[in-house]
Symmetry: C2
Subunit: 200 residues, 2 copies
Amino acid sequence: MAHVDNGRTRILDSAATALRQKGLAGAKLSEIAKGAGMLAPSIYHHFPSKDHLVEQVMMEGIYRNSRHIVARVEVLGPDAAPMVRLRAAIVAHIDFLLSGDDYSSAVARVFEDLPDEMRRRVLAAYSSFDNYWRDLIVAAQADGSASAALDATVVRKFLIAMLDSCSSWYRPGKLAPAQIAEQAADLLLHGFAGSRPGAM
Amino acid sequence: MAHVDNGRTRILDSAATALRQKGLAGAKLSEIAKGAGMLAPSIYHHFPSKDHLVEQVMMEGIYRNSRHIVARVEVLGPDAAPMVRLRAAIVAHIDFLLSGDDYSSAVARVFEDLPDEMRRRVLAAYSSFDNYWRDLIVAAQADGSASAALDATVVRKFLIAMLDSCSSWYRPGKLAPAQIAEQAADLLLHGFAGSRPGAM
DNA sequence: GTCTATAATCAGATAGAC
DNA sequence: GTCTATCTGATTATAGAC
């Protein structure tokens, strides 16, 4: 949405930033408009309501996030092992969130606060991406490289919640985003007590 | 807060429930009052503002959660191994969230949306509990039972985010809370790819 | 396509009776 | 300690000029 600079796109970008930083109720139309270089009523020339604007940001965030992760997994080719694909997805997810994409961070921040009907629609749009994660997890269990003692749904919920959290607490400093991504993958796949090559 | 049934306590209980279910902006004073068996203006006899009420719920949630977890860890005695203590804390945290305590779930739900100054105060109250987790993690690394290749702060942030998430997605059904707790501990400590006794 | 002015709504908060 | 009635302020949304 950043490749063209028309009014509609500037509003969406500004809304994504505001939603990420301040949440649904905290993102005022006046502030969103200011970020887009206009005043609040001008938004209504491009969107019929705040809800419609928010929903567009959600859909765009889901689309961007899923496109990025699927691309980073599928580039491995059809013969990549399930655990290699899962690890690539984990790393790609963190990389993308910490790359500063406001749309995907906005989804993680405000999803729970959406009005019921909108949340249902957003969830429906998210479902194919959710299934993609489920398939990665189930495939790793099916070929014996992952623990079959863990429930695939529980793993998926915990995994996504853990990854999504990083955009709320990460601050540039000691560790670079790529290092956070590696630590997340190591923690999720091998565990904090895990003894793997090179770890003590 | 549920052992006495005075007006103040009923309001706090109702506020915790509403905050957990609907978030900060979604929890209206009129609804909180209704849950306490009164009308909105009556709340002001017990609390000077909605913000004060919310802050009390946050403080109570932190207190309950930390008291429960510390008790479940310290009952192991002074000679328990660091990894045993850490696992007990993980299991206790999930158990408590899924036991239906609205106060601790409310904290996880609305913390990010709190006004800046209140969030600072709540964070300060949380810090000793946060340090408790940090000590559990560092102790496990220090005695060699946990990976020293992982950053202790990153592990703590990911771990707490993952555990906190369960109150938003768990629904009674196939798995009992105690089973979710065990799965969380296995996933965090041994990893999804981890091969431990009994796992495939 | 953006503006100024204003309406409409809603939720937090206050006043004062009982 | 709770109520009814009201006030205040903030925010979404509309009307209509430019």
